[in-house]
């Protein structure tokens, strides 16, 4: 989230699209209810299904799964065409006025530089600004130049008329315009809109661009950095934010640093591309500090073994040639290219698309280790569960070791919620049986492996042997000690750069802020963005002062919000270029003559005066936000509507380029996509309020509240197929088929696409063949193994199926 859960109460308009906060995040949704009850806010829900969020919405509009960019581009067109943008904000704080290179173009669904053979934009050189002799971006403050970003954007979205939105997305024109008007109302400085999204936007082949579209709308409206504004990812697991920060991800290292690639053979190569020189005069370009963060991190990882002479153990890090993300891993497993696999609290058999492919992959492994508090489908993928998991154990040669892990109640530590607030939790009891905490298990594995390599040697033992594990109790470190390691501390006295005779921080002291990090090996710190969470003043994540002096929901002394205890990102943008709040009603920070004052920590140099013209988006080299993404996105600098891979129709905008042209499709999956002639129904998968992923099917009360798999379908489809509530239905896709009980509802209506009705069905993801709920074939039996062009998030939210009435599965009651 750019803002926070509490901040939602400050909003005037909530748009829930690409998410279903009331069901997936009920306690966060509370702040929507607060905004409605106490701030007169309105709630808009745009969703293929009339969800429980829609049940309390002021306006609901249907949308065909996978057409969000068409809808949002239509909104942008409306805002631009009707002058409903926050012009001053857009001019000052975005790259609207920047000039783009002449050769940039978009034609027939493709941006400049596409290589048909390689299915990629091999030449992205025109996706770039025009620079002057100083290397600074050329701008046109009058917004007259046809190559300025705003004018290019206008041209780009011109095609998304309300009629076109209705053709593609099926949202009735009147409803769409009503919503546009409501959104446009927040273009004034005294009103804000908040966007709440989740997997409904990310789980598409155009996932990242969905979110970009909304970010662009918020920038045009001037809602970024504002109280009650922002683009807010609701996020999944309790610490998915923290674990993402910590980069349990194939190409990252903690704190949003990036692993080196094969092209960066040396440390100098690596650093050269990360010096992030400002592109406009006087800008901060905060990533200029990259090296300080990187070196401190290497010191934390490898301790004394990371020295200036060995380039801070640069070669201890693996380099990547391609992304080894979930889909790639499964593809490698299925191709027999993997021997070992760890599943630590991740139920891959349920979680990755195309279950048959995952199962094939698991069966080709030599060994698998499952670390989990609960029984999982993955740990028992080799076990025959009749038609729910019809396998022959004898034929599966994978050795499986299952380790019992403890749960949250049985361990202490910190976690980071989606508001980026790091909060400590304390241990209540011991775990059952011989279960151990993940910390203890990881330590045991590391120490044993380390001992083996120390004793016997082997392939490149150094990084393993040299990994810093110098905790007081290495076999089970104290979480507080590890948090200190993440926070960082001075390895030597740190001299004051202004006066080297003075010591800023003595050796051994915890770093109070990431500004203290050094690139000369004097500091250690696992992750710069968390620096400040554990200082000499104590463990900030334990802070429990819930007071809120400004009444804006900032709660500055509750836990610690990264970075630097900042609660609303880009908050400098809440004030105008002169440092005055855009409006008194939305006052958040202001320049008081000496410094930036307000209830929150400024996302800015706290004493940089407005007249220095430093932009509020300090992480960008431009200092401004990007309506035009340059080459940062693989599928284009502007979002464009492409159909899901299981395409329901030819793309009405450019039938020759129906789907995202740069999507990665593995050879093994080339024939795995469905077509509407065989699978004429659009399906989307989703989560229910009563369950959390695949865990709570093991919890008795949750199994009571939703005991069994079902498929939601509209009355028209049910009538056509002769299906009634509670009937058994077979849902099939190009990848496989499952059975589910029918839930016939008025809440899903056929969506009029290009003039004819499109039936939609919804499938909750929670049910499997392990658990207290009724057994079911997992929904990922149906979903396509393909991901977003930018980050490879699987396309779970829009795929093609067929449904028909069927007989009950074995061992299920025939009737209710």
């Amino acid at each position: 989230m750019t803002n926070s859960w509490n901040d939602i109460k400050n909003t005037d308009l909530v748009l829930i699209m690409g998410g279903n906060a009331a069901e997936a995040h009920p306690c966060g949704f509370k702040w929507v209810t607060e905004a409605k009850a106490n701030n007169g806010a309105k709630l808009i829900v745009v969703d293929p299904r009339f969800t429980r969020s829609a049940a309390v919405a002021d306006v609901y509009a249907p949308i065909r799964p996978g057409t969000d960019i068409a809808f949002l581009s239509g909104v942008m067109r409306y805002l631009l065409a009707n002058g409903k943008i926050h012009r001053e904000y857009a001019k000052a704080y975005t790259n609207a006025t920047y000039l783009v290179k002449e050769g940039f173009k978009f034609e027939d669904g493709l941006f400049a530089g596409y290589d048909e053979a390689r299915k990629n934009y091999v030449d992205r050189s025109t996706w770039e600004y025009q620079f002057d002799d100083q290397g600074m971006v050329k701008v046109d403050d009058t917004l007259q130049d046809r190559n300025c970003v705003l004018n290019l954007l206008k041209v780009h979205v011109e095609r998304y008329t309300p009629e076109m939105v209705e053709r593609i997305a099926g949202t009735p024109k009147a409803k769409f315009l009503q919503i546009c008007e409501m959104i446009a109302s927040t273009s004034t400085p005294d009103r804000t809109m908040t966007s709440m999204y989740a997997l409904g936007w990310t789980q598409h082949t155009t996932g990242a661009q969905n979110i970009r579209s909304m970010a662009m709308i918020q920038l045009l409206l001037g809602n970024m950095g504002m109280p009650g504004g922002g683009v807010n990812a609701l996020r999944g697991h309790s610490n998915v934010q923290g674990i993402t920060d910590l980069a349990l991800l194939s190409t990252s290292t903690p704190g949003y640093l990036v692993l080196p690639t094969d092209r960066e053979a040396t440390y100098d190569d690596y650093m050269k591309s990360r010096r992030f020189k400002p592109l406009r005069p006087g800008q901060t370009s905060f990533w200029q500090n990259y090296e300080k963060f990187f070196v401190s991190q290497q010191k934390s990882l490898f301790g004394k073994a990371a020295t200036k002479d060995n380039n801070w153990a640069y070669d201890y890090l693996p380099k990547f040639d391609v992304s080894y993300d979930v889909l790639k891993m499964v593809d490698m497993m299925a191709a027999g290219q993997m021997n070992g696999l760890f599943c630590q609290g991740l139920n891959i058999l349920m979680a990755s698309p195309n279950k048959a492919k995952v199962a094939t992959g698991l069966a080709k492994l030599k060994w698998m280790v499952v670390i989990d508090p609960l029984e999982t489908e993955t740990a028992r993928f080799w076990e025959n569960h009749g038609e729910y998991n019809n396998v022959d154990p004898k034929a599966i040669q994978t050795e499986v070791i299952q380790l019992p892990a403890s749960t949250y109640a049985e361990e202490e530590g910190s976690a980071t919620n989606s508001s980026r607030v790091i909060m400590w939790h304390w241990k209540a009891v011991d775990g059952p049986g011989e279960s151990k905490s993940d910390m203890e298990i990881m330590s045991a594995l590391h120490l044993r492996l380390k001992a083996l390599y120390a004793k016997d040697g082997g392939a490149f033992p150094e990084p393993i042997v040299d990994t810093a594990w110098d905790y007081k109790k290495p076999e089970n470190p104290d979480p507080a000690e590890v948090l200190k390691d993440i926070n960082g501390y001075a390895l030597e006295d740190i001299p004051d750069p202004a006066d080297p005779s003075k010591v800023l921080l003595a050796a051994g002291k915890l770093l109070p802020t990431f500004a203290m990090m050094r690139d000369d090996g004097k500091t250690s710190g696992g992750m710069w963005i968390y620096t400040g969470v554990y200082t000499e003043a104590g463990n900030m994540s334990m802070r429990r002062d819930a007071s809120d002096p400004t009444g804006l929901g900032i709660h500055p002394n509750w836990g610690f919000s990264w970075p630097a205890n900042r609660r609303v990102l880009y908050n400098r943008a809440s004030a105008d270029p002169d440092g005055k709040p855009w409006s008194q009603r939305k006052k958040y920070l202001e320049w008081n003559g000496q410094r930036w004052a307000g209830g929150d920590v400024p996302d800015y140099g706290p004493t940089i005066a407005p007249d220095k013209n430093v932009g509020p988006f300090i992480m960008n080299q431009e200092g401004t936000a990007r309506l035009f993404a340059r080459a940062a996105m693989p599928d284009g600098p502007f979002p464009e509507h492409y159909e899901p891979m299981d395409a329901y129709i030819a793309n009405p905008l450019h039938p020759k380029v129906t789907v995202n042209p740069v999507v990665r499709v593995f050879a093994a999956d080339a024939k795995s996509f469905g077509t509407p002639d065989k699978f004429p129904i659009v399906a989307t998968s989703y989560r229910l309020a009563e369950h959390f992923h695949y865990w709570t099917k093991n919890v008795h009360d949750n199994a009571v509240l939703q005991p069994e798999m079902f498929v939601e379908m509209g009355e028209r489809l049910a009538r056509a197929k002769g299906i009634k509530d509670g009937d058994w239905v077979e849902i099939s896709s190009q990848r496989g088929a499952i059975k589910a009980k029918a839930c016939v509802t008025k809440r899903i209506r056929p969506i009029m696409v290009d003039g004819s009705p499109c039936d939609v069905v919804g499938l909750p993801i929670h049910f499997g063949f392990i658990g207290l709920t009724r057994k079911s074939q997992p929904v990922n039996t149906l979903t396509p193994s393909v991901g977003d062009a930018s980050v490879n998030t699987p396309e779970y939210k829009a795929f093609l199926v067929d449904v028909k009435k069927t007989t009950p599965p074995a061992a299920q009651p025939a009737t209710v």
């Binding site: 009331a22 069901e23 009920p26 306690c27 949704f29 509370k30 209810t33 409605k36 009850a37 007169g40 009339f50 429980r52 969020s53 829609a54 049940a55 309390v56 002021d58 609901y60 309020a689 009563e690 008795h700 009360d701 949750n702 199994a703 009571v704 509240l705 939703q706 005991p707 069994e708 798999m709 079902f710 009634k724 509530d725 509670g726 009937d727 009980k741 029918a742 839930c743 016939v744 509802t745 008025k746 809440r747 207290l772 709920t773 009724r774 299920q812 009651p813 209710v816």
Partner: protein, 301 residues
């Protein structure tokens, strides 16, 4: 445990003693306010209720709706009821938390024949005292909202206690505590009524002209109230009674019929006694015996 927590009573089922005089225990009346317009149907209240009350509701099957369990049971004191209501082109998903309404004039208590099996505390909570319950299910007949359920295991009646064990120590009921959107509010009845009034103003401003408070006078008002967007048509919300009152049948059964019946029995007994005293027994006379003997002789001869 040596410590027994207790709450003063206003009413006690099948009691032959009058309730204590009003004012003796001037407890503040409590109420739970369920704001249907804020309810997202997440079933947190159901989960919290199951957990707090240590209820072991069996895992069922789905019937193709979101209602699970499909009805109240002896081990589910509250359930969400989902109703899809279409008017014109617009759809409303009306979600109502169903459970005991804690009537001010409780029909269950009126119907209950077992002394002290159903009580009403001075704060308005209607509670079932299991050790006194005989399992006759009269409360089921007495209730205008179809709430109590009889356990097939111990043959006792169960329903929401409004978490009397939490309220007695100053805690809100488990459902109200849990409710993420504070669609369930708990406090004094006066405060809840006032809070509802504010909510109704907000709803009216959003186009719900008939928004209102459901505090049905037919049962003397309730200690569980609803804010409804369509207060003119409560039955839209999965059959919430439009105008609930204790059935006249139950009124007759538990009202007039009781004294009249006992009086009739007493009258019959007394009448017999008086008749016997006044008229004496009806005896066979010797003349009758002779006549009989004569006849026997004649026939026998």
């Amino acid at each position: 445990m040596s410590v027994l927590q207790a709450l003063d009573l206003r009413r006690r089922s099948a009691s032959t003693v009058p309730p204590p005089p009003a004012g003796k225990a001037a407890a503040v009346e409590v109420a739970k306010l369920i704001d249907v317009s804020k309810c997202i149907g997440c079933k947190a209240c159901q989960a919290a209720c199951l957990e707090w009350n240590d209820l072991q509701q069996p895992i069922g099957v789905t019937d193709g709706t979101y209602n699970n369990p499909t009805d109240l049971t002896p081990t589910s004191f509250t359930v969400m009821r989902f109703a899809e209501h279409e008017h014109g082109d617009e759809l409303e998903w009306l979600i109502r938390k169903d459970g005991c309404m804690h009537c001010d004039d409780p029909g269950c208590l009126k119907a209950c024949p077992a002394p002290g099996a159903i009580v009403q505390y001075t704060n308005g909570i209607v509670d079932f005292i299991s050790e006194n319950c005989i399992g006759c299910a009269y409360c089921v007949k007495g209730c205008p909202f179809n709430i109590p359920r009889i356990s097939k295991v111990d043959h006792k009646a169960y329903k929401c206690t409004l978490c009397s064990d939490r309220v007695v120590v100053g805690q809100a009921p488990a459902c109200a505590k849990a409710c993420p959107t504070q669609a369930i509010y708990f406090g004094t009845k006066a405060d809840m009524t006032a809070h509802a009034a504010k909510r109704i103003i907000d709803l009216k401003s959003r186009g719900y002209g008939n928004a209102g408070l459901y505090d049905p006078p037919g049962v003397g008002g309730t200690h569980v109230m609803y804010v409804l967007h369509h207060a003119d048509k409560p039955s839209l919300y999965s059959g919430l009674p439009d105008n609930p009152r204790i059935s006249p049948m139950v009124g007759l059964w538990k009202g007039m019929l009781k004294p009249i019946s006992l009086a009739a029995i007493a009258f019959a007994g007394v009448f017999g006694l008086l008749h016997y005293v006044a008229k004496g027994p009806n005896r066979v006379t010797e003349h009758d015996e002779e006549q009989a003997a004569e006849l026997e002789e004649r026939k026998g001869a």
